[in-house]
Amino acid sequence: MSRKTIDLWVGIFAVLGIAAIFFLSLRVSTVQTSSGAPYTVYTWFDNIGGLKVRAPVKSSGVVVGRVAAIRLDTQKYRAEVTLAIDPAYPFPRDTVAAILTSGLLGEQYVGLNPGGEEDMLAAGDTITMTQSAVVLENLISQFLYNSAANGNSNSGGDSSQP
């Protein structure tokens, strides 16, 4: 095998390998094409359900960031969730953060519902209005309790339909 042939084959090999890396980066995964370093915003929840670090943060179904950290504040006994949001998406100060579930059994994510205020959230700000995760067990027990109460009174049945 002459040196020229070897060089040619090594060249082909390198092109194949780099093409594979590009394929894995661009076609298989998503490279975060954010316009800069994300800004962090803090939120407090009574219950985060099954939310995990790196879960998506969505607004109107569009991914705008990720959950950067989750910890329990032992003074207030509430969960502090840190969100890293793409700077391309500014949000008003009165935005509501909610923990939602994609589909019935899907993964949980943080949904942002923007309000109407003029001032925008800056890095390090806290979103005060939050809506905790819906815990299925609580929902069911509430439903059972309500129907039991309705059964006892035998009246006004349609007012407490969930």
Binding site: S25, V28, S29, T30, V31
Partner: protein, 265 residues
């Protein structure tokens, strides 16, 4: 008295001490190898020849194996995901298993047995036929001229092979999942893209393959260089290369995985 207890203990102790001694020896060899590596890059054709030898010649086995592994993942994954009604997530499963684990690990194992053993055999035979000694007598350092280019050739080839393996695997999964079983083409790719993270999955997988490449290449070159210069010694060295590379890859994989992916989900 207590011989049945003392003898095996002493035996185990001796083996442990020997293993530690050998590890130190390998690391010293590694340091010496790095010190004389300059030539591998100033005289690039030496390293290119080894990339051809370890990389290009392993291409076919890597691509075919990747394709088959991907096809098996497609079949098995679909069967399992189907039970939860999420057959559409097949793309995620195929891509994640390949990018995180199977790509680097299986490509590493194949690389060790295809290219690592060949490197050990080549260096071992050069030693057995006094070629290394002849080089040394001609004032050419065999560590720089023979060992270092083979080491760097392996270190460069192996991550590329792992990427090619993963790509072939994703195509294998696509072939079975989309073309044969009939998973929706769009959701196969879009779910995969949405759930596979570049930094966490692809970059970490790539780091794994680089670490495995360093380990396998070092073991292959060292075993060849250190072998007993006889036919039997060379064959033993080849066996050791394959066995030690496999064990090292699997052990390192556990360590790296626990660092990279623990606490993520």
């Amino acid at each position: 008295m207590m011989d049945w207890l003392v003898t095996p203990l002493r035996h185990i102790g001796a083996r442990i001490i020997n293993a530690i001694w050998r590890l130190g020896f390998i690391l010293r060899f590694f340091a010496a190898l790095l010190l004389v590596s300059g030539q591998s890059f100033t005289r690039l054709h030496l390293t290119l020849r080894e990339i051809w030898f370890t990389g290009v010649l392993s291409l076919s086995i890597i691509m075919v194996s990747g394709l088959f592994i991907g096809m098996v993942l497609g079949l098995q994954g679909y069967e399992i995901l189907q039970r939860f009604g999420s057959g559409d997530a097949l793309g995620i499963m195929v891509a994640l298993s390949l990018a995180r684990e199977l790509g680097p690990v299986v490509a590493g194992l194949l690389f060790a047995s295809r290219a690592g053993s060949a490197v050990t055999a080549e260096i071992g035979l050069m030693k057995a036929t006094e070629q290394l000694q002849a080089m040394d007598m001609m004032a050419v350092n065999p560590l720089a001229r023979v060992a270092a280019p083979r080491f760097w050739g392996g270190v460069i080839s192996m991550p590329l092979l792992a990427a090619i393996f993963s790509t072939a695997g994703v195509f294998g999964g696509w072939l079975i999942g989309v073309v044969v079983i009939g998973v929706d083409h769009g959701s196969f790719w879009s779910q995969m893209q949405a759930s596979v993270d570049f930094r966490i999955d692809i970059v970490n997988g790539f780091i794994k393959s680089v670490v495995f490449a360093l380990a396998v290449s070092l073991i292959a070159v060292f075993e060849g260089y250190d072998c007993h210069p006889t036919a039997e010694g060379v064959s033993r060295a080849i066996t050791r290369t394959v066995v030690q590379s496999a064990l090292t890859i699997l052990a390192l994989d556990f360590v790296l995985t626990s660092f990279m992916f623990r606490g993520l989900s």
